[in-house]
Amino acid sequence: MTATLERGLNALREQIDAPVASFFTSCVSCGLCAEACLFYRETEDPQYTPIKKLDLMRRVWSREFTLLGRIGGWLGLTKPVTDADLTAWETLVYDSCTMCGRCTLVCPVGNDLTMMIRKMREGMSASGHGPVELIGAAQRHIDGNSAMGDLSKAIHAQVKNAVEAAGIPIEFDKPGVDYMVILSAQEIAEFPDVLSAMARIFKKADVTWTISNAAFEATNVGIQLGSRDIARTLVQRVVDAAESLGVKGVISPECGHAYQALRWEGPNLIGRAYNFEVIHIIELLDQLRAQGKLKTKGKNSRKLTFHDPCQINRRGGINKEPRRLMNMVAENFVETEDAGTMNWCCGGGGGVGANERAAPLRNIAFKRKKAQIDKVNPDAIVTMCAYCHHTLDNVLEEFNMEQEVLGLTELVAEYLDEDA
């Protein structure tokens, strides 16, 4: 059994529902989605107009889901989607879209283009048009425990370091605790300080937590590649682990698509609601702040700005929480233009960051984010997604920019009032 055109088209057919039909019906090809897209804005190449990236799906819908399209198809007025078409669209669907969701918010007729890209990727991947890096990551994660391969040794080592740094024990597989923490591979590999930060904050707030050996990885390449089957398998692992530990909730870490995968897609993938809640770390910190369980002392005096990760804010609904936390710890917090719901993507989301082929385009697209940062010219950029963090680190370096990138959890922990 291999990827074929027919499987791809079938996957597209499976994805077409009332919203998709309504969106394609409503499109008046005004092209305003292009103005919202960082890839179009920086290249001014009309092929990057978001709705154009969906054209194959539109053709399937038109030919097979509308009366007139069906008649046109019978009469041979329209051509079916071919494998060559899919090949031609591969780079448009995977390289020039981070699924950042800006187009979804500007479309005057209200088309959720991002949701349709997500659906279109189902057909692309099933027909064998997924980027190799994402396929590799999927294989590694399915076969092992992380998109980066086997990270079980790494996590144990990082936890050990954190326990030493914070002086607080972190237990694996402890049943009955409040939360099970999952981490993005990026955090485990690059930003492990978040572990000690969480340990200190949770200790102060009397929140108990654990890490599961069976499911500590939060990322879900199935979402980016566009494969519900793979995404389901990965979500199921987390759900099984959490439910066997009997935790009250799972903390979704500073990772954009992981939140999207577990919090919003997950129940729909496995076909049922969970027996636990999923909460984003920043949501939880803000809750603790509101309950008076999180108190800080002192403030960072540098000029700080905040980068909203698309999947957590624009497509995840966590907007005010990080700002309240920022104001707790930042003396000089400045917002960039378009900050918040309409923030510009770092350019690495939606699997684009992992896609080598997309690197040159990604660097061009980053100029949008760069312009946004340049205007404010902060000393450091705070964010709440490890992958944004990772992308920003890389491209800032590429563009010889001086700014430091910080994780919000670590920043909050830095000013934790140990005496309160």
């Binding site: 998709v20 019906t25 409503s26 305003l32 009309p46 479309c107 949701m115």
Partner: protein
């Protein structure tokens, strides 16, 4: 002796309108059924916000452009607003049109004066010209434009132009121009359900879906 213009007018007011109406109404219902029966799966993720209310809100709120975007596509935005508002005013506030609505639904409201209707109509046609021009020149618009788009632009412009000509007796026999005006409207009605004109109805669904998807997540829309 027959007056061909009068006969055409009577055809346009009689069988012509009936045919157009059946295709228009039947077509819209057909398309809406075609869309909505497809359905969507119930979202099993616990909601953070009220998707239903935000969906309703988005139907209206999406009429306002996002801050700062107008300057990137001024022709599309301004032309689009002028056209939509202009078409709305010219259609809903010109007395003969109100008379039609009154006859069909038994509701009516005060009509606008000739100066308003005619200047609005002229502006609306200008907006259409600007939008058409941008479809020829702007790279994004150009790459997206299909035959359907030009057809829709033409079909939207014709009733405005013929209506203006008929009311002002710019040329042709006024009865004939009135008939031609009705026929262009009927062409618009017939094309409506099967072209991009359908957005004028389906936008409600799309905006609702968009708003409800975002709203459930507690995200803005």
């Amino acid at each position: 002796m027959n007056n061909p213009a009068f006969d055409l007018l009577m055809w346009a007011r009689g069988p012509g309108f009936d045919i157009a109406l059946v295709i228009f109404v039947g077509g819209i219902v057909l398309r809406l059924f075609e869309i909505s029966i497809l359905g969507r799966k119930r979202d099993l993720a616990p909601a953070k916000g009220n998707g239903f209310l935000q969906g309703l809100k988005t139907i209206f709120s999406r009429s306002v452009p996002r801050e700062g975007l107008v300057k990137f596509a001024p022709v599309t935005y301004i032309g689009g607003y002028v056209f939509h508002i202009g078409f709305f005013v010219a259609f809903f506030f010109f007395a003969p049109h109100i008379a039609l609505i009154d006859d069909a639904f038994g509701i009516s409201w005060p009509a606008a004066g000739r100066v308003i209707i005619e200047s609005v109509t002229a502006l609306t046609v200008l907006a259409l010209l600007a939008l058409t021009y941008s479809r020829f020149t702007d790279p994004v618009r150009k790459s997206l434009t299909t035959f359907d788009d030009y057809l829709v632009l033409l079909l939207s412009a014709l009733p405005l132009i013929t209506g203006y000509v008929a009311v002002n007796k710019l040329f042709g026999d006024p009865t004939m121009m009135l008939a031609v005006h009705l026929l262009t409207v009927e062409a618009l009605m017939i094309a409506f359900p099967f072209t991009k004109l359908m957005h004028a109805v389906s936008f409600v669904l799309s905006r609702y879906y968009n708003g409800s998807i975002q709203g459930r997540k507690g995200a803005e829309s």
